[in-house]
């Protein structure tokens, strides 16, 4: 709870700092505040198996919410460190950008610790409304404008579906509380209202829009390409992870006993997502757009945990999300640096990078290997947990499809490695600031540590 309070008060402090022109203090204050929030979150870790919901059953802070809050906060800290000097190029009023990112993070904390469908809706809205603004912060840039409008229209549209689903579930079960809904499902196993089934389907549609799973993914590539790279990074890591945490929390708490009904629907969505994400990514010339499609395919892998809902699902999502977030931070950090030099997002911009910037090329290689799921990196461990969860449900075909897709994904991730190491181009050295060195190096080391010794975070939830 203290975490949420700190993260909600911090942006207001930042806005005041901006008002009094304390530009230099913004980043340090943000980082210190987030570290305090992180400490508060870690302190809430309990060994108690049955933590009680607070505020009349609105919120429930258990180990699940602590783990996902910690991942979100750490990713946000790393992303904000990359923002050193980034927002100044867009506008002189930079306090607002930090504040809006933190408001969005507050929504994410609500999303991972809700215990009532009202809070799920409020959390998603706090996060989304902030992101609509962030997608359009380059006011004169057409691509950024377009991304903001598309994200806004699609986001509002999907909220409508989510709300209609919540309403139908309320109509059938008579409550928004997750425990009451679960008890209602358990006591009415045979004659569940058709309203309730329709409600579940509409909630699936709404949440799949938010996490960018096919066939509701069409907004994602445009928005990710048009938004400024740093905001794209925030959207494709922290926001996506929070979306899956909310998805998993709802389905494992309420609907796990009627999995026979919704599982086939999600199975089809998962398979379509994997194929569309991976095959379209093969044809992209722009690295940024390739990362957008790759994030769609990773949404497909993350859906595995919900398709094969079980005791290990939360752990699998946690591992996969951590690995994916850290690797994406490296990839986008590299992209921002290369783009500052060459001015384009294309693969050609990376040609010959290894000769001039061995460090940058090395961390980018680690990140690509991790995203592709090569052993000894965190991405492999994440995929391993996902696939073993599905295998425990004897869903061999799904695993075969997933492995085929993992092989397809190697082609497009390795294009970057080939461009960096085997294509030669005349280029000057890319200047890597100290902040970037720290974030990229830290992320690469964590990726390898998790890959070699996963036990230190795998048993947490």
């Amino acid at each position: 709870m203290i975490t949420l309070i700190i993260i909600s008060v911090l942006p207001i402090v930042l806005l005041y700092l901006g008002l009094y022109k304390a530009q230099k203090a913004l980043l340090p204050v943000t980082i210190i505040g987030l570290l305090a929030a992180l400490a508060a979150a870690v302190m809430q870790w309990t060994t108690n198996d049955q933590p009680q919901p607070i505020y009349n059953g609105m919120m429930l802070f258990n180990n699940f919410s602590v783990a996902f809050s910690v991942v979100s906060i750490i990713s946000t800290i790393l992303i904000l460190l990359l923002s050193k000097g980034y927002f100044e190029k867009i506008s002189t009023h930079i306090a607002e950008y930090y504040a809006i990112i933190l408001f969005s993070l507050a929504g994410i904390i609500v999303m991972v610790s809700y215990h009532n469908l009202t809070m799920l809706f409020i959390g998603i809205e706090i996060m989304s409304v902030s992101l609509y603004i962030l997608a359009g912060i380059r006011k004169k840039d057409f691509a950024s404008n377009e991304a903001a409008l598309k994200y806004f229209l699609m986001g509002a549209f999907s909220t409508g579906f989510l709300l209609f689903g919540i309403t139908l579930i309320y109509g059938a079960s008579g409550s928004f509380d997750l425990d009451v809904i679960r008890d209602w499902v358990v006591t009415h196993p045979r004659n569940i209202d058709p309203l309730f089934y329709t409600g579940i389907l509409l909630i699936i549609v709404g949440l799949c829009f938010k996490v960018g799973a096919a066939p509701f993914h069409f907004w994602a590539p445009d928005v990710y390409e048009g938004a400024p790279s740093l905001i794209t990074l925030f959207m494709s890591t922290v926001v996506k992870v929070a979306g899956f945490a909310a998805f998993l929390r709802l389905f494992s708490a309420c609907f796990s006993t009627i999995a026979d009904f919704w599982m086939p629907v999600l199975l089809v969505i998962t398979i379509i997502t994997l194929f569309i994400g991976n095959i379209t990514a093969l044809y992209q010339q722009s690295f940024k757009r390739m990362m957008a499609f790759s994030s769609i395919s990773h949404a497909g892998y993350l859906l595995f945990a919900i398709v094969a809902l079980g005791a290990g699902s939360a752990n699998a999502v946690f591992m996969y999300a951590t690995a994916y977030s850290i690797a994406s931070i490296i990839a986008f950090g590299g992209l921002i640096l290369v783009r500052q030099q060459t001015g384009s997002d294309n693969f050609e911009g990376f040609n010959g990078l290894a000769k001039k910037n061995p460090f940058l090329a090395l961390v980018l290689t680690v990140s690509m290997l991790s995203l592709a799921g090569i052993p000894l990196t965190a991405g492999f461990i994440g995929k391993f947990f996902m696939f073993s969860g599905v295998l425990a449900h004897y869903n061999v075909w799904l695993v075969i499809i997933a492995v085929v897709n993992a092989i397809i994904s190697i082609f497009y991730y390795f294009r970057l490695i080939i461009a960096m190491y085997f294509r030669s181009a005349e280029r000057a050295e890319v200047e890597v600031p100290v902040y970037y060195k720290f974030v990229l190096g830290f992320s690469a080391i964590v990726t390898i540590i998790i890959g070699v010794y996963p036990a230190f975070i795998s048993g947490l939830i």
Binding site: E125, G136, K139, N145, F152, G160, L163, F164, Y170, S175
Partner: protein
Amino acid sequence: MESLTQTIQAVPLNHYILLSAIIFSIGVMGVLLRRNAIVIFMSVELMLNSVNLLLTAFSVYRGDASGQVFVFFIMALAAAEVAVGLAIIVMIYRNTNSIDINVLNRLKW
């Protein structure tokens, strides 16, 4: 208050569900078919209002106030969304002099 509840309950619940589903579908079709950003926006509001209507009806039939409280949350957040959304549309109008979403094809769909 008592008479208000009775008035609402005079109409069978199924009719509320059907009416809301129809209004919701009109909203969805509006979002998918219309090309003007403001009209799309109005269609989204139509979807949200059909949800509000249905929540109120369920809440009255169940005798449970939490549904009506949810309606207030939806209204407040829809207002926040309108503020941000109209700002985005104004920003686009300044750059393109149009609010037709067909102008926005620089990024391929």
